[in-house]
Amino acid sequence: MRLELRGITKRFPGVIANQNVSLVVEPGEIHALLGENGAGKTTLVNVLYGLYQPEEGEIRIDDQPVTFHDPGDAIAAHIGMVHQHFMLVPVFTVTENVMLGVESVRGPLGLLDRPAARRRIIEISERHNLRVDPDAVVEDLPVGVRQRVEIIKTLYRQSDLLVLDEPTAVLTPQEDEELFEIMRSLQASGTSIVFITHKLNEVLAIADRITVLRRGRVVGTTTPAEATRESLASMMVGRSVDLIVDKTPAKPGGPVLEVAGLVVRDDRGHVAVNGLDLTVHAGEIVAVAGVQGNGQTELVEAITGLRHPVSGTITIDGTAVHLAPRNVFEAGVAHVPEDRLEDGCVPGFSVADNLVLNTYYRPPFSKGIRLDLGAIERSATELVANFDIRTPSVFNDIGNLSGGNQQKVIVAREFSRPVRLLVAAQPTRGLDVGSIEYIHRRIVLKRDEGAAVLIVSTELDEVLALADRIAVMYQGRIVDIVDPERATPELIGLLMGGSAPSVAEAAAAAAPAADGEGAG
């Protein structure tokens, strides 16, 4: 089908998410929608999928205007969508998830015909090489397989146009390549694909055409032949962007964090960290790279005292710390959590209150049981100025701030005291480029002040840019520690996928040189 979006405008209270967006997807084309976080890409495809209604503009399929009041209409028009956060019911099986909404039924009471659905799923999975077990329960499946289930869902509904929203966020570079193969195979059978991403390399690797969005508007449409990483980045952000972080070589001092033989279980009782050893020295940045779900979350929780390890030791400056959040904090550890809204700040509290969230119980902010509200306010005013936090007042509810500013509040809170060890998990997730640059600079600053810095990130670009040493984590262990000078995306990717170091190095050395081509 030929899809055309004409002049789509979508407003939310206080923000215009899409403004006068027009683009065309030709039949059988892989069309990339590129933009930084917050540019409006997901909103646009949600409009296309009928989840939102646009204030202005129209959608045309094969030159006929169509309106989608809900996803059912979009599905009926043979548009399928794989969302960034999977839309799978964890306790259902693959079959139940795939047939949900288009169930095959028998008899007057609507009895579910599971066998019929299973047969179709198996047929689709064999045709496109999407291996899944139809009777597996989704919550037991690894992320890569879940994505395959999502794709099967769309094919089950005979989609002619597939929208993929940030599909590679949860994949290793090798899995990216497998995904691209699937995409090419689908393209060959006539499916058009709209592929949303903020990763420049992918776009240049797979897309036929690229539309760049910035702040809700279309900035331009181009092709990989005509574009480079720099030109695309500059279109995305509106100015020339330094794709590298400015930093001097590290001068590591003595060890600050020493982890030995750490074993940690996750919420479901499975072993997430499996005998991990790691050392971080003062004045260096160690970045833990790895695909989500290999134990990084549990590792960070263990170090910051939120989760009790089964065995192993964690010492900070040589002393084994009693692992509870407050003790860890008092030992000089700063923690920027992965999920800022859920874990990092308290929406409902003011900016000032959030800035003293872990220091309120000590002088100067309190005396005994009594809070010193004046001291809290003064400190907050200072921090807001120093860290360039955009808020009308320190008493403003932090829930009203943008994501970038909320992260700045958390950063201000954690960075504004003497810190021996900084632990930052996904510090720039979901932030715009300006905030990302700011936070990267602050992290390097902390390192130069002598702190030991441990970053956990799934964004390879961030890891390569920031790290003095890269520790690749796979299935609960550090597979290898790589010098960023030697590191290439291929090498890191192979290690992230579990290859042994020697194998990975050999393979990476043999791979074609990366200058805008190749996966990752």
Partner: protein
């Protein structure tokens, strides 16, 4: 709260060991109670007689009474509990812990009954029959809660719906001179209250527990108000005809189970049908799949074209109708006249039964039987004049509920989106 779960959960080893020890000590305590407390003051020759055939029953096999020597029985039970307690402390029972818990509790209860019947005759079948009857409204409440929560809406207002169901059943049944009309009226009113809950919780995104509490207060107030204003002066509006007992021909002759499950009025039979329908519907039909999807992951359901809000409205109203009908049992199926606050917390116990039964209809019924047993014990034992004050017996069902709710958290999984208003944006 996720945070608490995160701190208890992963220390699977520590918490499990702790729980193992607590159970072990608990079994040993029960054993000691049986061996020493219950036997004290009892004549060594005393026997306890349990009548197993309903008095006045003319049909069916002649079931002999169960006669046991009181003290010996207690020692046997004590021995069993002690043995299981010792094994529990040392080794634990792994995945069969629930079965063992059931055995120990059942054994101790039997010892307790033996004590209560020492030197006397107790109609055990009477207690069992009453168990089922007491469990009836609780099960209706649990099913109502289940229908709502499987779609993701917490229904605290079951108590209020039961109460108004009882009230409406009595008044409409009296006014129309026909209990069936009363039943229909009760269902409709239950559905209306549920519609109000649905609107408040779904459309106005009010906290579901607050909305439910409001409806409970409102129901108590309005039934009390009308009862005083109208019923006191118009007695004839509070004397509905009750549904007759209808024993099912062959089935009611089965020893013990017959009088329990097949000799009641249509409420019990309707309940069986309802349990079967809901079970089949939820787990084998398209309707059930969609409802469960809405309760687990409403956004996923939305993206495949299911109307989340409409599904929630439908289920809540259905739940209200079920609760209304269940409430009518109090008047049209049991005592006849409406008395203020006659439901006495059965709606909340129904919620506990729903949780205990892991949000399944059959589980809810079995769980309700446990609560119903506590209720029945309390009713029957106070007649027997035993040494335990009646107030403590009255507390029984409520304490059992607390223990169940506290013990089962984290062991059973609620529908994942339970209680959260669905936000389109």
């Amino acid at each position: 709260m996720t945070a608490i779960a995160a701190s208890l959960g992963p220390i699977v080893d520590r918490a499990a060991v702790r729980r193992q020890r607590i159970f072990g000590i608990f079994y040993l305590v029960l054993a000691a109670l049986a061996a020493f407390v219950l036997t004290s003051g009892l004549d060594g020759d005393a026997i306890s007689k349990f009548v197993l055939k309903p008095a006045g029953s003319k049909t069916g096999l002649d079931i002999p009474n169960l006669v046991v020597p009181s003290v010996l029985t207690m020692y046997l039970v004590a021995g069993l509990c002690a043995a299981l307690g010792a094994i529990q402390l040392v080794r634990g029972f792994g995945t069969r812990w629930a079965v063992v818990l059931g055995i120990v509790v059942a054994a101790f209860v039997f010892a307790f009954l033996t004590w209560a019947a020492a030197g006397k005759s107790m109609s055990l079948i009477g207690i069992l029959q009453l168990t089922v009857l007491k469990a009836l409204p609780i099960t209706f409440g649990a099913l109502s809660g289940l229908l709502c929560e499987r779609a993701g809406v917490v229904n605290i207002a079951i108590e209020g719906m039961l109460l108004t169901g009882a009230f409406t059943g009595a008044i409409v049944g009296s006014a129309a001179g026909n209990p069936i009309v009363g039943l229909v009226g009760a269902g409709l009113v239950g559905g209306l209250l549920a519609a109000l809950l649905a609107v408040l919780a779904i459309r106005y995104r009010m906290d579901q527990i607050i909305a439910g509490t409001v409806i409970n207060i409102f129901a108590a107030g309005i039934t009390g108000f009308v009862a005083t204003r109208i019923l006191q002066h118009n007695r004839e509006l509070n004397e509905p005809e009750r549904f007759a007992q209808i024993p099912i021909p062959v089935l009611s002759d089965i020893p013990i189970l017959g009088p329990m499950f097949f000799s009641a009025n249509i409420f019990l039979y309707a309940l069986f049908v309802l349990i079967g329908l809901i079970h089949y519907g939820l787990f084998y039909t398209r309707w059930g799949l969609r409802v469960r999807a809405v309760g687990e992951h409403p956004r996923a359901a939305d993206t495949v074209g299911i109307n989340v809000l409409a599904t929630r409205y439908r289920n809540v109203i259905l739940g209200g109708i079920v609760a209304g009908v269940g409430g009518a049992y109090f008047t049209l199926g049991s005592t006849g006249s409406f008395v203020q606050d006659m439901t006495a917390g059965r709606g909340f116990i129904g919620l506990a039964a729903m949780i205990f039964g892991a949000w399944t209809p059959i589980g809810a019924f079995l769980a309700s039987l446990v609560f119903g047993f506590a209720d029945a014990l309390q009713a029957r034992l106070s007649i027997l004049n035993i040494a335990l004050p009646s107030e403590f017996l009255l507390m029984g069902p409520y304490l059992v509920t607390i223990v169940v709710v506290a013990g089962l958290v984290g062991r059973v999984r609620a529908p994942a989106a339970d209680g959260r208003p669905y936000d389109k944006e």
